[in-house]
Amino acid sequence: MSVEGRKKALRELFAPTVDRLGYKFTPNDEDADFLLEQLANIEAETGVPYCPCQARSKDRAADMRMVCPCIPFHRKHYDAMRRCWCGLFVHKDVTDPDSLRQIPEGRVK
């Protein structure tokens, strides 16, 4: 499958899941396109669409917590940022994702 085709497929696959979690794709189309492209490339290389902004380890349990969409495994952290770490998903009410801050997990109260 072409990268473009896979990007579209991943978007369709993840949309209903993140919707139930209270999230949507970022309205910044350029960012969404870039991130989906990274996911498609990472998946083509490793077989798994890992988060493009988190480092993989040799520990399967840890790595499975960063497979997109990884929101369920980082709920408190992402809810505090109103966005997932890589920024592909934002809370449904977010209209200006560039106004959001990335907060390190350890600094989330």
């Binding site: 960012d31 870039f34 991130l35 990274q38 490339n41 990472i42 493009p52 902004c53 988190q54 480092a55 380890s57 770490w85 890589c86 920024g87 801050r101 990335q102 907060i103 390190p104 997990e105 350890g106």
Partner: protein
């Protein structure tokens, strides 16, 4: 001039935005793409990030002795000003 180091992933959007931010401010920095390093270097980078109190999410930014994680211009400016 403070020494700025950015640990990044080549696939990470916020790492790109972070590098661009320092470029536009004309602040020199050293950038290291974690995913382009060998295993030994990756281990050293992971250890450094953990020692600073962070997990393995990117970007990781060190400005002199102070570290942060994520793209946060306000925090970068604060660290650069040393306040």
């Amino acid at each position: 001039m403070k020494k700025v180091t950015i640990y990044a992933l080549s696939t990470c959007l916020w790492c790109r935005k972070t590098k661009k931010y320092f470029e536009e401010k004309k602040i020199p920095f050293e950038a290291v793409d974690y995913d382009k390093q060998d295993e030994e270097k990756q281990k050293a980078m992971t250890a450094e990030m953990k020692a600073a109190g962070f997990n393995c999410s990117f970007p990781f930014v060190r400005i002199d002795g102070e570290c942060t994680q994520g793209f946060d211009p306000a925090e970068f400016d604060r660290m650069l000003d040393g306040k």
